[in-house]
Structures are given as C-alpha cells and as structure tokens.
Symmetry: C3
C-alpha cells in the first residue's frame, strides 16, 4: 500500500536515552535517519545515506563535531553540509544530506520529516504527564509489523479490553459502556466514557492500595492529538477524596506502510514515593503492550490496513471514524500542495513553497536544498 | 502467477482428527478459514476474518455454540451471521462472515470454496479405500512450497519412480513400461499400466509376506478424480490366488499459487490383522512422500509451474496433458460465468447465478450474502 | 531493477577446485547452470533445468559420461542434447538443454553466457599473476547481496582504504593521493596512483621482511579489464633494488541484479619459498574482503545500485565514470542487436546473428538451438 501518513507533523524519533554519544540509525517514515548528540547535548538528525555512494552514515564515526562517512571519509556538519572530502582539496558545490529539524523534550526526541522550512510553524505536543511534575512514568519501545493507523485505531476503541486483557479488566465489567462523548476539532478527537462502579482489578488494587471489597467509579478518556500521539487517561475515584489518575501515551511513528515504532509511556500521579508501585505498573503495562502488539500484528497479517479499514462500522468506532477523516484531510492537503507546486513550477512562476518559506517566521534552510528530497 | 485452481470443487480442508473442540485456522485457496466442531459433532467452516477489523476468528474462542472474536467480542453463529456486539445493544444489519459448506467423510473434512449455493449440485468423491471396510489406511499431511498442479503432475506420471525412489522400485525394473491405456471423461482421467514380472522390493516383501525368490506381475493405475483428488493403485498378483492391493490417495488443496496442502493416505486390503504391516507401510510411505515433496519443491523453485508446464512433452505425459485440458476447461467455465454475470448485472437483468440458485435443489444461503466475497 | 550486466562476456563460473567429479549447480546471470568434469578433465556447463519438467539437473547423477536427470531419468550428452528417455524408445526431435561454452584456465573455469556461437570471437582475459609463474596466489570466494557494479565501483575507487581498512593502511597515510592517470580504451579503464613515502603497515612488514624504520614509495594501479574482471596492483619499492609486487584479482560474476559471486585472488611475486608469508597474506586479504563485503552490502541495502549511482561525483570517481560508460555501451550494443534481429526476423530476411555465425571462425553449435533461450 502507499504510505498513509502525513509528513508535516512532529513525530517521536527516539527516546532521549537511545541517543547517546554514538551514532544511532533508525528508519522513520520510509527514510533512513542517523541521530547523534553533540557535546552541548543538542541532538542532530541527518539523512542516513551519504550523498556520494549511499553508504549509511550511522556506520561511520564522529570526529570533532563532524560526522565522517565510513566509506570514503566525507565529512558532514550538523546542518548536513559536506565540508570535507579527503581525496580532493575542495568540496563540490552543494553536496549535502538532508538535515531534519529536531526538538528534544524528554523523554522524547522529536523529528520533523515534512516540508523543509515549515517545522517552526508547528510544535511537538505538550505531554505534561511525562515531565515528572507530580507524575511518575516509565515506558517500553517496540517496532511492530503493522501499519501505524492500526495502532491508533486499536487505542481509539478500547472495547477490546475485556477480550484482549481480561486479567486487567475490573471484575464484573464484561464490556465497556458506550462513549459519553466524542469531541472533534480540526486536528484532534477526544472521547470520554464513564464506567459503572466495579471492584478493582488486581493491578489497580496493588497500585492504589485501595480496599478491594468496594466498588469504584472510573472515567476513561483518550485524545488523538496528532498522527504521532494518542493519549489515554484512566481515573479511579478513590471515594476518599483522591482521584487516582493514570495516563498512557502512545507515540506512534511509521517506519514504513507495514511497520511502526511504538514508544509507549505509562504515568500515574499517586504513590509517587513507592518504587514498588512503579515497578508493578511497569510490568503490568509491558504485558498489556505485548498483548496489544500481538493483536495488531494479527490484523495486519490477515487483512492489512486497507482490509481492516474496509470492515463494518460499530458505534464504538465513532472516534476511529473521526480520526480517519482528519488524517485523510491532512494527506489531501499535502498532496494538493505538492500538485499545486508542480503546476506553478511548470508555468514558470514562483512556487507556493518558496512564497511560504519567505513569509515564514521560522528558521530558513541554511543550505541549497538537496534535490533528492 | 494467477491462481490456476478451480473454486467450484470440493476440496479437503483438514483431516477429521485435526478438527477437535478448539478453533483450527488454515489458509485454503487464498482465503483464511476457521474450522471447529459443534457438540453435535458437525464441523463448521467460516471465513477466518472478523467483519469488523479483520482479526482472525481462529484466535478467539467458542462460547455456547457461538464463535467469539478475540478482539472486540463480536459473536458469530454457525452460518457466519454476527448475532452479538458487546459494546452496543443491536447488531448492525447484515453483518456476517462467509460460511463455507462442509461435509465430513472420515478421514477427511471437505469444504466448498466456490460459488455460494451451488455446493449441493456436487458431492465430494467417494473414497472407499479410506472407509475401513476391508481396507486399512493411514496418512501424513504436509504443506509444501509448490503449485498444486505440480503435485498432480508428479503423481500422474510415475515414470519418476526408478529415479526418485530407487529403493522402493522392484529389482530389475529399470524403468516403468508405457501406459496401457488412458481413459478420459469430461472431468476425470484414468491410466493403467501392466508391469513385467519382477522380484519384490523390500517393502513389498515385508508387507505381503510373499516369497522373495519369484517374480510377480503387477498392475499400476491412477485416476485424476477432480482437482482435489488423485487416487493411485498398485496391485501385486500373489500367484496364490490373492491380489495384494494398495491405494494411495492424494488430496491436493491449494493454499496459494505457490503453496499446497497435501493430505496423503495409504491403504491396503491384506494382512489387516497385522499391526506391524501397517506400521511398516506407514513408515515406507512417509519416506516416499518426503522424497516426492523434495522433488516437487525443487521444480517449483527452479522453474515454477508455468516454467515446468512449458517444457517438452513425452509419451508418459499422456495423462498429464489430459488433466491440463480438464482443468483449463473448468477455469474457463468459471471465468466465463463470472463474465456473463457481470454483463447481465450491467444490463439490469437477472443474473445467471440467481436463476441457477432458484432452480437448485440444494440448500439456499440463509443470510444476506456478504458483499466482500 | 533490470539486469545491468552484459551477457556477451566471459565470466568466471567457478574455481577449478569447485568442479570435481560430482555435479555442481550455481546460478549465473539469472540462469541456473550445472557444471561437471569429464574423465578427460574437460569441464561441461549445461542449463541446470531439465527440458521436460524443469527439475534441476544438478540434483541428478552422471552415468557413463551422460548427465541423468534425477526426476524421470532423461539423459543428456555434453552438448546438452537429450539422448535417452527411459520411458519411451525414441527421444523426441530436438530436445535439449542449453550448453554453455566453457574454458578452464586455472584457477578459474570461465563460461560464456551470451549469444550462442560467438564465444570464440572472444577469449577470457589473461591473468598471468595467477598462473604460478613467478607468482604465488590464493583466494576466497563469496556470494554477496549486492549488484555487481557496486563491487566494481568499490575497487575502482580505493580512496575507501583509510576508512574501511585503517589497520592495513600505511601509517601516516590519512588519505590516498589523487590518481596520476586514467587511461581509457574502448573496453577497459586503467588508473595509476603514486603514494607519498610512508612507513610499512604491519601486513606489509610481515610479508616483505623490510625494515620498519624507513619510508617506502608505493605505486597502486588497477584495470577494469571487462565486466567480469578487475585487476589491482600494489607495488612497494624496497629501496634494495627489489620491487615487491602484489596483485588482487576480482572476478565479478552477477548471480542476479542484487547478488554477486566474487572470486577474489591475491598474488605476490616475492618470498615465494616462504609458506608463512602465503598464509599471512591469505589471512590479511580474507579479513580485508570481509570488510569490503560488509560495506558493499550496506550500500545495496540502503541505496541499491541505482540509488548509489545517482549520488554526487568526486574526482576519485574518474575511473568509475569511465567504466559506467563502457558498460552502458556494451548493454546498448546487446539491446540494439537484439532489436535489429527482431526487425529482420519480422521482415523475413536472414538474421544478423545467422550471418555473423556463418562468418565466424569459431565452433558452431552442434544442435538445433533450444527455443527457450
């Protein structure tokens, strides 16, 4: 299938601890990318493919702040410009690899794989649950064999919980109730659901320390923030005046049309001084994630995303259907802009993208643009 | 290559002992199928792909005679109709998966992957050698990497025996004699061959208990019964008034254009009270089958079916060539009917298939037809 | 990608010691080939695919100088003609597999995969360094996952040495100097480079026994002889009147557009009586080859040949660019001839190839030409 992911979007490229002093190569949105960290701590992301013969730069080395290709020794600066060729005195004009805008907001390193020069018009979403302020969080990263939309759609419709995670479902809850509400903005979708009072699942009891012999109210909500991020909340009303809040953040980054990186984080705002609660929740969520991945990969293997998306719709799919519309609109905008630029280029006028770049308040590309991207 | 197998044919889906109380998923003629057995003993075959998101139903569970999808809990009855969706009060109109007609005649479970509503016009072939009445039989099942026609053509031309199975060839028989006769009907091909007197191969001596110091006459014959079944016979004239008959039944079910399920059964009508003979013949035939599979897979890997079928013809290929004609005619009929239906559908008239269904004496589909199949 | 290798060229099919008394199958230029040696020592190369069903002949056996197919026992002579079919008295007219012209010049067995009947217009290149006359040589064979031109281009631009083989680079030589000269003929390219005086790398010191405390002049040169052969020389001026010459011969044979057989040989003309030097150089060159293969396969995996070839050009690519022109010309000639023949065939005139064959001084095909090749 053709790629079905918008490119004009901040995606998570890696977790902060994956990018150390060495070179880290990863395929993101069909492109090989090499990530590394400067002495200043700043993270750099370059096309992982030398402009000369296509050797992966991530197999080279860092030398005095320059990235040296491991094949013929071409040297690149942090903007992707080739600044040295050992076998000749001068660098041919304009040799470069693409440099990607990067922003680090721990625990994530974000990348902008879209139209150059427009990244500053957008910002990675704020994820306060992961910043440590009143919350404790941990996470797991996997690369799974499925289209990224299968991941979003999995988490947008949690009526799978009783079937896929029966041990983690509150006892007596044979099914999740319908959504209370689906709120849709131009770029996001939020759903909320109030659960009928139910006893605690084991993991909830161990995490909260609440008495098991009572029933508790719960609220479950989720937000598709962008094609890169889905955030879920699971709140237990402790009946002691305390709200036990838990958040799952799914950072979803397409590798290819049939493979997806999932950076999963789990946060909670209670028992912050008890390390055992952290460890317990981490183990439970890692198990839940393995079960999720198995289901999502089975759908990809049996039906693929297009087959899955052509299935029948249920009431519980309200959020899924809204998200499909948003993504389709983003894709149409990107395709339309590309077509419009081609038309203008053919007629000899200034391209829309040049015009837009000039008007943009953000930083401009420092180099002649590489024609290959 | 395109699929070269007729769909309007009863194929073996599984052996009876493969379908127990659990869910059994298998790909048959390019379609995922889930098989299970009701308490009544009846076998059900449904499309192995939930109508909602495409999750394989074989990863779900049975509950009170209903098949429950392991993803969002949709419930299906034995006709493939969705009769329950946990997350909402009613089932949307017409939600279903395809149900396949099934017939069990041990040791085989047969399936009809063809045009719905026409299965009752046909019956699975009778295979008396496997019914236990005067015969003892056993078998082996494999899934091999080859087109199903390579399997048929392998067994339609047994002049490979001296090269592929030299240990099982009667001593002195350096080659098989030409066929005596090839009889062709509209849908089947039968060949017969009389072998010159020869001593016993080891396996023949051990199975029959006949003295080794004499030469015996043999008759070898085979019948292509349908694209799903080829039956072979190997008779030794014991010179003691007894005919030692052996039958090999090859149930050939395409998984895809390059993979084939082979349900191989071997039967004999003598020494029925001697278990050691059964065990010995089972071991010999399992070895022979491994040698067959290796040869057939080597042809697929080197030439593929189309390459193999474009080779030169020998006299020994008389049966093969007749079978190719039969299969080509079956495929043309299916394609032609499809084209004719399309033409009629476009011109607004009743479709040929509807007309035929109305006239059919067999059972009608109980459900609105799923539009996806 | 489409094959980008000329077929009208002698390629190395195997090393002499690979072809013993058994059958040796190998895929060469997209075709399966079986090689074997007659009692006379002569090597035969036939299409490794029986004319009947496509079974690989290399899985058969030799019997009295004939190659017997392991499936139905068809017998082929050394010209590829089928001379026996066990299941029938006569061989159908014209049944054959393609026989390839072969020449053995140890350590290599050469094959002509091109237009039949024209092999005698060409000869495999002379490789005196490997004939043992004043030289000692050894080698290693691998099949790597890369287009054959990536192998040529790797060895045509040795400015990779300091990055890829830093341990084998003479100390102080951080980079190779530019080429002195690139000489181009219609079919070959030769480059030469003079290195500035430098101390000995470990492997050079151990091989030559020269004192380490001095600097030595070196000359490095290479020749693209044909799409099948690249020869490199590395000479150390011993300052004692002796020139320590070493040669690396890369025999490059495409298996498919993305896989290549590399028959690598290393020769030296000094210390011929010291086996330890041989062993040492063999080990060093095997290590160097592993490093080369890793780099070339990484380029194939990241960019493929077309992606790699569309990269920017450096001064060091002078030889590479000339070779690309030669190969493009060879491919255009082959394509053009094929087109011209087709045109003539359609208009009923004698084909260009027939005319050329009649005028050719070489041996003629003994058999009717197989139509499949």
């Amino acid at each position: 299938m053709n790629p079905n992911y918008p490119r004009d979007c901040w995606y998570v490229a890696a977790t902060s601890d994956e990018v150390g002093s060495g070179l880290f190569g990863r395929k993101l949105l069909d492109r090989p990318v090499v990530l590394y960290r400067l002495e200043s701590g700043e993270v750099v992301a370059l096309e992982d493919r030398c402009a000369h013969r296509g050797y992966p730069l991530s197999k080279g080395r860092l030398e005095g702040g320059l990235l040296v290709c491991g094949y013929h020794g071409l040297r690149y600066d942090t903007a992707g410009a080739c600044v040295g060729v050992p076998s000749q005195p001068n660098v041919p004009y304009g040799v470069c690899v693409r440099a990607y805008p990067v922003r680090e907001e721990p625990p994530f390193v974000w990348i902008w794989p879209g139209q150059p020069g427009t990244s500053s018009l957008h910002s990675p979403p704020q994820l306060p649950w992961l910043s440590g302020d009143g919350w404790s969080s941990s996470g797991t990263t996997v690369c799974m064999a499925a289209n990224y939309m299968l991941v979003h759609e999995h988490y947008l419709d949690l009526t799978h919980i009783p079937e896929v995670h029966p041990e983690e479902t509150p006892p007596g809850l044979e099914q999740l109730p319908p959504l209370d509400h689906v709120a849709v903005s131009e770029t996001s979708v939020t759903y909320t659901r109030t659960l009928p009072p139910a006893e605690l699942a084991d993991w909830e009891a161990e995490a909260t320390g609440l008495p098991r012999d009572r029933k508790y109210k719960r609220r479950h909500h989720g937000t598709f923030i962008s094609p890169a991020i889905l955030a879920e909340g699971w709140e237990i009303d402790g009946d002691d005046g305390q709200l036990y809040e838990q958040a799952r953040i799914h950072a979803v980054t397409p590798e290819s049309p049939t493979r997806t990186h999932l950076f999963s984080r789990f946060a909670h705002n209670f028992a912050l001084d008890r390390a055992l609660v952290d460890q317990h929740l981490h183990a439970v969520m890692a198990k839940v994630m393995r079960e999720d991945v198995a289901v999502i990969e089975a759908v990809e293997a049996t039906a693929g995303y297009e087959g899955s998306a052509s299935g029948i719709h249920l009431i519980a799919d309200a959020g899924v259907l809204q998200v499909r519309r948003i993504v389709a609109r983003m894709l149409a905008t990107e395709t339309g802009r590309t077509s419009a630029e081609l038309d203008r280029a053919r007629s000899g006028r200034l391209s829309a993208s040049s015009t837009r770049l000039r008007a943009s308040p953000g930083r401009q590309p420092r180099l002649p643009r590489c024609p290959r991207w």
